[in-house]
Amino acid sequence: MYDMKALYEAESVQDAIRLRLEHPEAQIIAGGSDVLVQMREGKRAGKELISIYMIDQMRGVSIDEEENIRIGSLTSFSHITRDPIIQKYINVLGEAVDQVGSPQIRNIGTIGGNTCNGVTSADSASTLHAWEAIVELTGINGVRRLPIKDFYIKAGTVDIRAEEGEIQTAILIPKASYENTFGHYIKYGMRNAMEIASLGCSVNVRLSPDKQTIERCRIAYGVAGPVPMRAPSAEAVANGSRLTQAMIDEFALAVLLDINPRNSWRASRDFRQHIAVEMARRALKESIERAGGVIE
């Protein structure tokens, strides 16, 4: 039995916006795998909840008229992994969210909930950063879109305007981002299932038509800082470079110029830096190979 003051159930996006405006103190609950756990811990005990879980219109993956991949915010991780559009264009996202928690958690957990928490360890977050996803928010003033890097403000805080009744309704991956692009995600954990990432690293590349050089490389981390982050110094090393092991090693070391992991009981800064470099090396190599490149 959860210690909640009241539960408001939204049946549509508009309904959710209305409820949000009516109950500004209320917490939005999507799948609940984080919110309910916090409520049980006492952190959110006695609060009101607005459940958006039953809004089926916010589920599913499609390609919209602008050729963006559109992922409804309530789409569960397991449905993302199994979706043919995801598998065809951005399989790495399906692979990343297939490493969240456990099969049951992947059935209840939603990509919207995962990102709205604003936590750096979310398995979807580094890949969404590396693919420059766009977050779609719907409120009383209509739809607002913003790049995912701007959506994350600080640890646990994202740019959602509660006063405008906003909820996150979709995540979009633009065509320019996914076209001819191949990636790889590595999750580092202390065991092989039911794990929260000690570090997550997502890399993707687009190779030149002759597959000799990297046209565009993007790398993002989870848990390398308070929010998920890109590593532009490393990307600069890779962009325009030939596919050599030396380049990969230089790329991997360059991530240290950007990331800023902290010391905590879960892992030391030194350890996280060490693993981050190794992950960058392995994820870039795998991405290149997936793109059809051969490392010299």
């Binding site: 039995m1 959860y2 210690d3 006492g42 005990a45 006695g46 580092y188 202390m190 065991r191 092989n192 299932a193 039911m194 794990e195 929260i196 000690s198 070391l253 240290l256 009981w265 879960r266 892992a267 030391s268 030194d270 350890f271 830096q273 060490h274 693993i275 470099v277 190794e278």
Partner: protein
């Protein structure tokens, strides 16, 4: 037909496969009030006051009771049999709720409420004022002069110190040309993590208190509840339903005494205490973290001249099982690898960690980790293969221990190692994995363990049971040695069928749930004793039942008792094998005979004054990814000699579970505490790294079935042994793979990172530049 030695289906399998099995919470009275405990949020403090006003104002809260309200009766909690010798009784060092809180998670107050939410709100609304005291988490720091003191009666926090001496250590180490192999070995605080948390409910009936509890030891709990409440023990009734695992945590009085007291405070209404997982990790019991210091003096031929062992056992805040655990650990050293000159010392020391109690293996996983690590280094030091070194030094056949009276009747250790080595192809792989380069390194390692069955002669070892002949010729059997998931009831059914002479183990109804008002007194499930000790009383009671059956059969069949036998559920004339009558016919006749009616039953107690060695080994193969700081077990094999197997399939299943626990102990499990506050940091199943389905290779096991001469069924301990040698085998495999000797478990990525860097196997150039 033999009834034992067969892989019969568990007697409780159908109910468990259909979800019908009732655990304590499934028997809960709907009207039970919720008791929630306010746990200390200080590692060491004196409670000055508890402000209950806000909690009492929460709608639904019925009562708040604090550490200032409880009876002034310190009580012990260990699940040991009572001792008539006051000097041998367990240490009574806690009250139902404590004003002097000694660890983060200690019990300060309770809120009793009509529902869960109100109870939780009530607990959150309590305001506890503390006078903080300095605290200490490390076992050796707790022994230092000036360290924070936990219990007045135990200066320097030393609960107990014992030692043993063999030969003359000081003189022996003077021998010329000896090689010294010395190490400090550290084992972590871990928790049982049975999937059903501990919980119980209590109510009063006719002035007596009944507690239904998830426990391994109902009869012992009855006594402890009586002690804690200052009531006659017979005033208490404990009922033990099916339980979702125990592994030793539930071999302790957990919250039964508090629950029993709470019902007395609300007029005997039913009250429930359900531990949350977070409480299970901290406010129940944990495994003792033991630190070992071992000095081995070797001759060049690989024999020992002398050994010195010091053990420092971290007891945590309360005595619980106390010194028994490290005493057992220390006791293994002179027997496991006999050596003429030994100095052994063991200290059990209070610290401000959760109280440590019994856990599967009872000191042996710790001792095995330390001893088997040191042994591998000894082998390296004299250039011998680790298996050969062990063969040379390990307890030989015929070894006799005067204290326990145990004899090593067979060449068990060598037989187990030979079999394990063959299964895993040890010799070839050991050679193949020498001199590796590259990022992925493979290794293979071995470890053995020492164990003995049951608790004689340290404590009373007794078992009672009752058998009744039913009208259909089946037998109902009851005993106090509990089913906790391990399959004891099935073994009892098989042994009873065998001993009485029934057609099948299905003709035995084992009353699984113990009720101390009804069940013959037994001690419960611990020390891997159930099958061994129950075997004695089953054989004896079955003998009594058979006598009564045959006496009655004499009246009916006019054959002399000596001429008859009971075979496969029939009374048979021995000479010609003629079936005289079935047990069903006999039971009906006996019950409804208008001249001499008899309900045929038998009951007896057997005092066991034996003990039995139970040995085995683990071979493990690992793959280490140096750059990723990860070690993965790729193959693991356990071989055990636990005597004759009563049920091979269940035995194998027991071994699997122990191996899994050992893999966790070796690589991932550890309860960690904030050094600044003493707060536990990972007391949940996400952050405490129990092995998942994806963290194991296939678990392989095999047995050597040397019949145990002291046992009526040739059997001995198996429940705990499988958890003992896995971790050091993994550690030794990592040693071969990397050349790095890691002397503390779990060997998780953090540890590998530090150790591999120290050994120069990974290079973080940027850190070197920073001069770190």
């Amino acid at each position: 037909m033999q009834k034992v030695g067969k892989s019969e289906i568990r007697v409780d399998a159908y109910d468990k496969a259909t979800g019908r099995t009732k655990y304590y919470e499934d028997r809960m009275p709907q009207e039970a009030l919720y008791v929630r405990i306010k746990h200390a949020e200080k590692a060491h403090a004196i409670v000055k006051s508890v402000d209950c006003a806000e909690a009492l104002a929460v709608p639904g809260v019925v009562k708040v009771l604090t550490c200032f309200d409880v009876p002034d009766i310190p009580f012990p909690t260990a699940g040991h049999p009572w001792s008539m010798d006051p000097g041998h009784q367990d240490v009574a060092d806690r009250k139902l709720l404590n004003t002097h809180v000694r660890y983060w998670g200690d019990d300060v107050a309770v809120v009793i409420a009509e529902d869960e939410v109100a109870a939780n709100r009530g607990v959150r609304a309590l305001k506890v004022e503390y006078e903080e005291l300095p605290f200490v988490l490390d076992v050796q720091k707790a022994m230092e002069p000036g360290a924070p003191q936990l219990h007045e009666a135990f200066p320097n926090n030393i609960l107990k110190h014992t030692s043993s001496r063999l030969g003359d250590y000081a003189a022996a180490i003077q021998e010329e040309g000896l090689i010294k192999v010395e190490g400090w070995y550290d084992t972590p605080t871990v928790q049982h993590a049975h999937i059903e948390n501990h919980g119980c409910f209590a109510y009063m009936e006719n002035g007596r208190i009944t507690v239904v509890s998830s426990t391994q030891i109902p009869h012992i709990i009855r006594r402890v509840v009586g002690q804690a409440l200052g009531r006659p023990w017979a005033d208490i009734q404990i009922i033990k339903p099916y339980i979702g695992g125990g592994f030793g945590n539930k071999q302790d009085a957990l919250y039964e005494p508090l629950c029993a007291w709470c019902t007395t405070q609300v007029g005997g209404r039913p009250v429930r205490i359900d531990c949350a997982r977070e409480e299970t990790f901290v406010s129940n019991r944990v495994r003792h973290a033991i630190r070992f210091h071992i000095v081995s003096w070797l001759r060049k031929d690989g024999t020992f001249a002398a050994r010195k062992v010091e053990c420092f056992s971290n007891q945590g805040a309360y005595a619980s099982h106390g010194h028994s655990i490290v005493a057992k650990a220390m006791g293994s050293f002179p027997q496991h690898y006999p050596c003429p000159n030994m100095e052994c010392d063991a200290w059990t020391v209070y610290t401000n960690r959760p109280a440590a109690g019994a856990m599967r293996g009872y000191g042996m996983p710790q001792a095995s980790f330390a001893d088997e690590s040191n042994i591998d280094e000894c082998a390296l030091a004299v250039g011998m293969d680790p298996v050969e070194f062990r063969k040379l030094n390990i307890m030989p056949q015929g070894f006799h221990d005067n204290f326990s009276g145990n004899t090593n009747y067979y060449d068990t250790y060598r037989e187990c190692m030979a079999k394990g080595a063959e299964i895993i192809d040890y010799a070839r792989k050991r050679k193949e994995y020498e001199h590796q380069t590259g990022n992925i390194r493979k290794g293979i390692g071995v470890a053995t363990f020492w164990y003995n069955t049951a608790v004689y002669p340290i404590s009373l070892e007794t078992s009672s049971n009752r058998m009744q002949l039913n009208l259909d010729g089946t037998v109902t059997m009851q005993c106090g040695e509990t089913e906790i998931g391990q399959g004891a009831d099935t073994a009892y059914a098989q042994m009873t069928a065998e001993a009485v002479g029934l057609a099948s183990y299905k003709d035995v109804h084992v009353v699984s749930c113990q009720d101390t008002d009804i069940t013959p007194t037994g001690l419960g499930a611990y020390a891997s004793r159930q099958t061994y000790v129950a075997g004695f009383s089953i054989r004896q009671t079955a003998g009594l039942l058979r006598d009564k059956i045959l006496q009655y059969a004499r009246e009916v069949t006019r054959q002399s008792v000596d001429c008859m036998d009971i075979i496969d559920g029939n009374i048979v004339r021995k000479a010609d094998g003629m079936i005289l009558m079935s047990l069903k016919e006999l039971a009906m006749t006996a019950q409804y005979n208008s001249v001499h009616s008899e309900h045929i039953t038998a009951e007896s107690t057997y005092t066991i004054r034996n003990n039995a060695y139970s040995f085995g080994c683990t071979f493990a193969e690992v793959e280490v990814d140096l750059a990723m700081c990860k070690a993965q077990v790729t193959r693991i094999v356990n071989v055990h000699d636990c005597g004759k197997l009563i049920n091979p399939a269940l035995a194998e299943a027991q071994v699997h579970g122990g191996m899994s626990m050992a893999i966790g102990y070796g690589l991932s499990e550890q309860l960690i505490f904030d050094e600044k506050t003493g707060r536990p940091l990972n007391n949940n199943l996400l952050d405490y790294k129990l092995s998942t389905f994806m963290d194991h290779p296939r678990l392989e096991c095999s047995f050597i079935e040397n019949p145990e001469p002291t046992s009526p069924f040739g059997t001995k301990a198996l429940g705990e042994p499988p958890a003992c040698s896995g971790a050091p085998a993994i550690r030794n495999a990592i040693l071969q793979a990397t050349g790095v000797a890691i002397n503390h478990n779990p060997i998780n990525p953090h540890v590998l990172y530090a150790e591999l860097r120290k050994a120069g196997l990974i290079h973080d150039t940027w850190l070197d530049e920073e001069g770190k």
